[in-house]
Symmetry: C2
């Protein structure tokens, strides 16, 4: 008999571990699915966010994705070279480069989103629709809280 259940507030692995164990296969899976479009999972995610919120800057995105401005700048430079997005000076502040998708970028987002929806359906098929809704709601709460408290920022 061990006293492990007294020392640990929960049985088994940490919640952080569980999150990463879900994250890893999903990342592998989505990278594979997006390969035909020539973008990685992270690149696609950035494109998707820009698609829904045009006019963000590199600095905005670096905060949202918990990476340094340099890292995000490099990622965006790659996507710009490939003709998937454009950066244009803000009319009020020439330091800020507002990002918009090109038509090629929008096509990648559209096609990729369809494929990713299929991935989702498969990857979370072990949960009922109600359970998925609960999972999403809990994750959203945590995301919003971490973001507002700037936890884990680079």
């Amino acid at each position: 008999m061990s006293t492990e259940h007294l020392a640990e507030p929960f049985n088994g692995p940490s919640t952080t571990y569980l999150v990463s164990q879900v994250h890893h296969p999903l990342r592998n899976f989505s990278d594979a699915i997006l390969k035909p479009y020539g973008v990685t999972g992270i690149q696609f995610t950035v494109l998707s966010v820009v698609a829904h919120r045009e006019g963000l800057s590199s600095a905005d995105l670096s905060r949202r994705f918990y990476v340094t401005p340099q890292s995000m700048g490099q990622l965006l430079a790659t996507l710009e070279e490939r003709g998937l997005l454009e950066r244009k000076e803000d009319s009020n502040n020439r330091r800020i480069l507002r990002i918009t998708l090109t038509s090629a970028g929008r096509e990648v987002v559209e096609a990729g989103t369809r494929d990713m929806a299929k991935l989702e359906e498969d990857a979370f098929s072990s949960l009922s629709p109600k359970e998925i809704k609960t999972l999403r709601s809990l994750l959203r709460t945590v995301v919003d809280d971490l973001r507002s408290r700037r936890i884990g920022s680079a």
Copy 2:
């Protein structure tokens, strides 16, 4: 008016996106916390798994972490060089190298686990204990399912 709510089964971002948005700050945060011990989040996680299940091989671990055997081999070689674990030939099969922690490795796991528990408490403080239990249960279901179906394997 758009028909977006018809095309998408859920409001807003994909579940995959939500998972990664929780994962990223947690990884940054845990890397920072583990820095004093000279290990990254991933290295610590591997050490923790070995601590709970001694005698695993590199091949076993590569499957568990959804990476190629080569990647896991490299990670383990680094940890072995630093004196945190040892690899010894299996008595029945000389090809297999069974992994055990050194006392230095066990110390890192012990101290790191304490610090990580504090991180967890802080990072998920926006959820009630009951909600955390639910979240953990749902994540476990998905982890087990993805693992059994070998989804996202390298």
